[in-house]
């Protein structure tokens, strides 16, 4: 099973409120990624966990938090949503010895109003 699951699929949030997105995989992959995709833009890497080590991109360092309580789950947390956070959020994972191939979930579409 190469399925990556994301919850919820759609999320409506108010400006200034927190948002928590969830991703899970059962492939025992050691690395999990979060990407942001806006219309007519390329998917952009936000952060990734290699095992328990979190790596965040420099330009989004303060905007997104993440946790990985166990190998299967990874969350993406926005402390105070702004309009600019409206986007599709894609989770992906890759496994030992096959870091080249990432398996993506269907994404969570976040709309901030």
């Amino acid at each position: 099973d190469t399925t990556v699951k994301q919850n919820p699929r759609y999320k409506l949030a108010r400006v200034g409120k927190p948002v928590n997105l969830i991703c899970s995989q059962t492939m025992n992959h050691d690395t999990m990624y979060w990407y942001q995709k806006k219309p007519n833009q390329a998917p952009k890497l936000l952060l990734f966990y290699y095992d328990k080590i979190l790596n965040r991109e420099a330009d989004t360092f303060e905007k997104f938090q993440s946790s990985r309580p166990n190998n299967s789950f990874c969350s993406l947390y926005i402390g105070s949503a702004g309009l600019e956070y409206s986007a599709m959020y894609l989770c992906a994972s890759s496994g030992q010895g096959r870091q080249d191939t990432q398996y993506f979930g269907p994404g969570t579409r976040l709309l901030v109003l």
């Binding site: 390329a42 952009k44 890497l45 993506f104 269907p106």
Partner: protein
């Protein structure tokens, strides 16, 4: 600035025809991947071609890589309606650090 970019926003073809998506990139790489994203789904890997390869096939898909011109192409033969998707290239050096995608080319296949 984008590390990679597909050369066209959108392409339309009829079923059975062939279509080619092109990608150019800006740095030295060890490999380049092609991903496809269908509506309502996440991206899915189609082909990974390494810098020492000139061509790679996967069924109806054929990818080429020209490291001298820093460009790649993905061709789909005998297209089907289900090939309708956005196609992204992702050139890279260390994919464990994450993927860097181009903007994508939307391919529409009509009956």
């Amino acid at each position: 600035s984008q590390l990679a970019e597909e050369n066209l926003w959108a392409l339309s073809v009829h079923e059975g025809e062939s279509v080619t998506v092109n990608c150019s990139y800006k740095t030295s790489i060890t490999a380049l991947q092609w991903y496809r994203q269908k509506s309502g789904e996440g991206p899915a890997q189609l082909i990974l071609i390494r810098s020492n390869e000139r061509e790679k096939r996967n069924g109806r898909l054929r990818a080429t890589l020209d490291t001298s011109s820093q460009s790649s192409s993905l061709s789909i033969t005998a297209t089907r309606c289900e090939d309708t998707a956005v196609y992204f290239c992702a050139p890279g050096i260390d994919y464990a650090q994450g993927l860097t995608f181009g903007l994508g080319t939307r391919v529409s296949v009509f009956p």
